[in-house]
């Protein structure tokens, strides 16, 4: 074991390698790792934020759904009401129409009856006159008896 200038050589080499490592190896490695750490932290934060956003969105969806359901229910309710109203109205209209038709028919019938009465009366008057003519077998003053027969027919 003899100590010699190898020691100096080794020391110089050692100093050089440490200097080189300090200058050109450590800083870039350190920077790369720090940057990766930051990126990972950012990524995790973004993931947290996204999951929170998702939670919020879910809540909002539930709210909207609830509102929509309420709205739909009220619309259906309204529609039902309106439908029953329409039905009521239609019923009312139908009844009125029916009544009107019945009234019209009755009026017509009355008219027919009256007309038939009128005809009948006229015919009866004629028959009565000709019957009376036949009974009397004499010519009677038609004009004098017309009033008589007419009042007779009217009393029928």
């Amino acid at each position: 074991m003899n100590i010699n200038a190898t020691l100096l050589g080794q020391s110089i080499a050692f100093a050089f390698f440490v200097w080189f490592c300090m200058k050109y190896v450590w800083p870039p490695l350190s920077a790369a790792l720090a940057e990766r750490q930051k990126r990972i932290a950012d990524g995790l934060e973004a993931a947290d934020r996204a999951s929170k956003d998702l939670e919020d969105a879910k809540e909002k969806v539930a709210e909207e759904l609830k509102a929509a359901k309420t709205q739909a229910a009220s619309i259906i309710d309204q529609a039902n009401k309106r439908a029953s109203q329409i039905v009521e109205e239609a019923k009312e209209q139908g009844r009125e129409e029916g009544q009107r038709m019945v009234a019209g028919a009755q009026a017509e019938i009355e008219q027919e009856v009256n007309r038939a009465k009128e005809q009948l009366r006229a015919q009866v008057a004629g028959i009565a006159i000709s019957g009376a003519e036949k009974i009397l077998e004499a010519s009677v003053d038609e004009a004098a008896h017309a009033r008589l027969t007419e009042s007779l027919a009217e009393s029928l």
């Binding site: 074991m1 200038a5 050589g9 050692f14 440490v18 080189f20 490592c21 300090m22 450590w26």
Partner: protein
């Protein structure tokens, strides 16, 4: 190893181990000439000699580390990382966690320092798992010199481990003075643990404690890896029976290699953290 046994049939077992523990030395001899040397000639060169093999492997592995990590760092994406970036980030986070848990000061140096130490020492220790004769044999074949000494595990050279630990020691001194001021640093050495009146005793305790840090740091790593390599060399002498033994020791070393790199890094962080803390 069969090929080595062929090349070194004239060696005794002692010589085999001796040869494997010799460095490829390039230094200045007594007359002031610079040349490669081995054996006693290398030992006589004194301080002005370099272990070329150790420095080569150490710097080569260090270059592999910084180039690999630089290529990843340059193209590092904050998106989904690829396979290599994943691995580098895993190492980065391992080191960063340890630094953050232990070092409470604020310094741009500590973390890259710890990363460099951990990966570099780990790579150097890992060379211990390469069978002991392969790379020396390659060196002998390429150089054409059958006697060439060539070691491959830089952390089995105390020069390498102490070179690092002394650099860390200088950082400890630097941070101690920077954070606490020269007076504060001196007070920490002189006024503890017995109070200002017993200053000589305090210094007698604290100064060796301080000096023991780089020595223990460097020698721990060196001792563990040197012992490991020595056992690999002894196993290589078993001849035909070496394979199971080699496998067992390598499996055990699979634990020692990263553990020693980790300990070296952790102690560095702890020492520097102590240097930066007020008491």
């Amino acid at each position: 190893m069969a090929e080595a046994a062929g090349a070194e049939h004239t060696q005794t077992q002692g010589e085999y181990i001796q040869h494997h523990l010799e460095f490829l030395t390039f230094g200045k001899d007594a007359e002031g000439h610079w040349h490669f040397a081995h054996g006693d000639e290398a030992a006589e060169m004194g301080f002005w000699a370099f272990h070329v093999d150790m420095l080569g492997w150490s710097i080569g592995l260090g270059l592999i580390f910084i180039l690999l990590f630089r290529s990843v760092a340059k193209n590092a994406t904050s998106g989904v990382p690829g396979g290599l970036q994943n691995f580098v980030e895993w190492v980065y986070e391992f080191v960063e966690t340890n630094v953050r848990d232990t070092f409470h000061g604020n310094s741009a140096l500590i973390a890259p320092l710890a990363l460099t130490i951990f990966v570099w020492v780990l790579l150097m220790n890992t060379m211990d798992l390469v069978p002991v004769d392969w790379l020396p044999w390659l060196a002998q074949t390429i150089s054409g010199d059958p006697e060439i000494a060539f070691r491959v595990v830089p952390t089995t050279d105390p020069n390498v481990t102490l070179g690092m630990s002394i650099s860390i020691f200088l950082l400890i001194i630097f941070y101690s003075i920077k954070i606490k001021g020269p007076g504060g640093f001196f007070k920490e050495l002189a006024f503890q643990p017995f109070g200002p009146k017993l200053m000589p005793f305090n210094l007698l305790i604290e100064v060796p404690t301080l000096l023991a840090k780089p020595v223990s740091l460097g020698l721990r790593l060196y001792g563990n890896l040197y012992a490991g390599e020595l056992v690999f060399l002894l196993i290589a002498l078993f001849g035909a029976f070496q394979l199971p033994a080699h496998f067992l020791w390598a499996a055990f070393h699979l634990l020692v290699v990263p553990l020693q790199a980790f300990i070296f890094m952790m102690l560095t962080i702890v020492y520097l953290s102590q240097a930066c803390e007020h008491h």
